[in-house]
Assembly symmetry: C2
Homo-oligomer: 322 residues x 2
């Protein structure tokens, strides 16, 4: 039996709202809206979001699930920190629910992506999934025993803030030596700009402002010694972090994705090599590495399905998903 | 309503079998037997175990749960590897069940300890518990969302084999740079013996064979530079590993114990300092560090309670525990 829900992907600059039809382990986007966020106050964003929900579902029958690029406080829709939106301690879930006239579910974006890939994508059929996304930052999500695992304070799988080199490079979080300060897209772009007289600047067409991790990675692929050093270090730290995650969670599926992961072949290969080298045998024997397949859709599909799950739980029907 | 079960602690040299009465969140040992393992073949150990079960529970009414110092294969009682017993790929669960005439449950010893402390000890009342024990080796267990988490292949929380110093000291597992190769009691004893002309040898009463981590730690406490270096390095690696675990799991409770943890004040303080330094703020805000309180009883109490849980699950009664 198919069911409909609205999945929302709330990023730092963009809002995407999709009407999703879920049928067993299949989901498809029936209609969607994208909006650049002009005014980023919580009230303004909530208003836009609610308007788009009305556009897609005039009857207001579909439950709404949001995946937000934010650190959540507990599991009740409170945003503790959304750096790209400039929000701190905002009860965004309540704000949207009030405007919308019904409850909404709010999840961390990586949790929504992990759930989407677990239900409808590359991690389908796996009950213990760890997802690691290497994009501008580095983040993760977990499905354990078939359920989304969020941690006691909704802060689990902060893999970007594993200390891979204690005392090392300063991270955006204020601490030093975080994985994200080496292997995230923002960090790689910074590292690229630190030495602009290089092959990678040539690859970027001479535009230092446009430099990103992909240019560095291409330079490394072409054998440039400095690029190999910078991307190589990032890859080793990433591979170590992946090995740590796999050693601790013993997942059946390690799901990897994100723009940097997908766009940087040198980094991907070196990180995979390090992961294989460092992974204990028992964990290795149970684990399959897969690449994310739903791309940008994973978040809205996951958020929509989680909204259905929340509604079912509220109704006392725990079997809706399988 | 109270219920009875037999909890078994199967170590490398000793077998302990306890008749346990469980009443809500309280448990007590009614009677118990300890036996030094003379013959360590699986058949011989199973026979001794079954005999002790008969001694304690002639009627054979109490379900039997075993916590074993072993890597298990899946969750059906198959021992993949028990290095201290010299077992590989032994279906010990089936062996005991056959001799006993009824099913038994088999768990990794650290899982049994974690469950015991969660149900009856220092971690009572916490739903997301990560337990780390620093003894001869370094191991861990997890209770997530109130349930024991074992990983896809029963190999989760292998914290002793986190690579804290890739390419470093050789570990008993065959890989290099594992936490256990620095912070475990066996490693500390080896490190102590590498430089016997030292303050710690004096502390050990001049007996190089008797040297253990505690002697090194005492020398470090007295300010001995070399001891501080060796124990300090172990502590930093341990603190880093604890920070990684807390960053990834975001537990409400980090439960710490084990002979080395309890007996080595220098290591404990330095590791705690490193943990606090490296832990991301969100995870830190939700986490309480507690010391294990049940000592040697945690394993048999946990194994006994898990046996009751298994019986209840087999009967379709999922509510027995709360």
């Amino acid at each position: 039996m198919s069911d409909k829900a609205i999945g929302v992907d709330l990023g730092g600059t963009n809002l995407r709202v999709a009407l999703v039809e879920v049928d067993g382990t299949e989901a498809r986007i029936l209609d969607q809206r994208r909006q650049l966020l002009q005014e980023r106050s919580p009230h303004a964003v909530a208003q836009v979001l609610v308007q788009l929900c009305h556009d897609l579902d005039a009857a207001g029958a579909a439950p709404v699930g949001i995946g937000a690029a934010a650190m959540l406080h507990g599991t009740k829709g409170m945003v503790a920190n959304a750096p790209n939106l400039g929000w701190r301690d905002v009860d965004f879930g309540a704000l949207v629910a009030k405007d919308l006239g019904r409850p909404v579910s709010l999840e961390n974006d990586l949790s929504a992506i992990t759930w989407g890939e677990h239900r409808f994508g590359a991690a389908r059929g796996f009950d213990d999934v760890i997802c690691v996304f290497v994009g501008t930052g580095v983040g993760g999500g977990a499905v354990l025993c078939g359920e989304l695992y969020r941690g006691a304070g909704n802060a689990a799988l902060e893999i970007g803030h594993l200390k891979v080199h204690p005392g090392g490079r300063l991270c955006g979080c204020g601490q030093r030596g975080c994985l994200e300060a080496y292997a995230g897209g923002r960090a790689l772009a910074e590292l690229a700009r630190e030495a602009p007289e290089s092959l990678w600047l040539e690859i970027a067409g001479g535009d230092a402002e446009a430099l990103h991790g992909g240019h560095l990675d291409q330079a490394a692929q072409r054998g440039d010694a400095r690029a190999k050093e910078v991307v190589g270090r990032a890859s080793i730290f990433l591979g170590q972090a992946l090995a740590s995650v796999a050693t601790l969670f013993n997942p059946s599926c390690l799901l990897l994705g994100g723009t940097v992961w997908q766009g940087c072949a040198f980094l991907r290969e070196e990180a995979t090599r390090t992961l294989k080298e460092l992974l204990p045998l028992p964990a290795a024997g149970w684990m399959q590495c897969v690449e994310a397949t739903l791309e940008d859709d994973a978040g809205v599909l996951g958020a929509a399905d989680l909204a259905l799950a929340h509604r079912a739980a509220a109704r006392g029907d725990h079997k809706h998903r399988r």
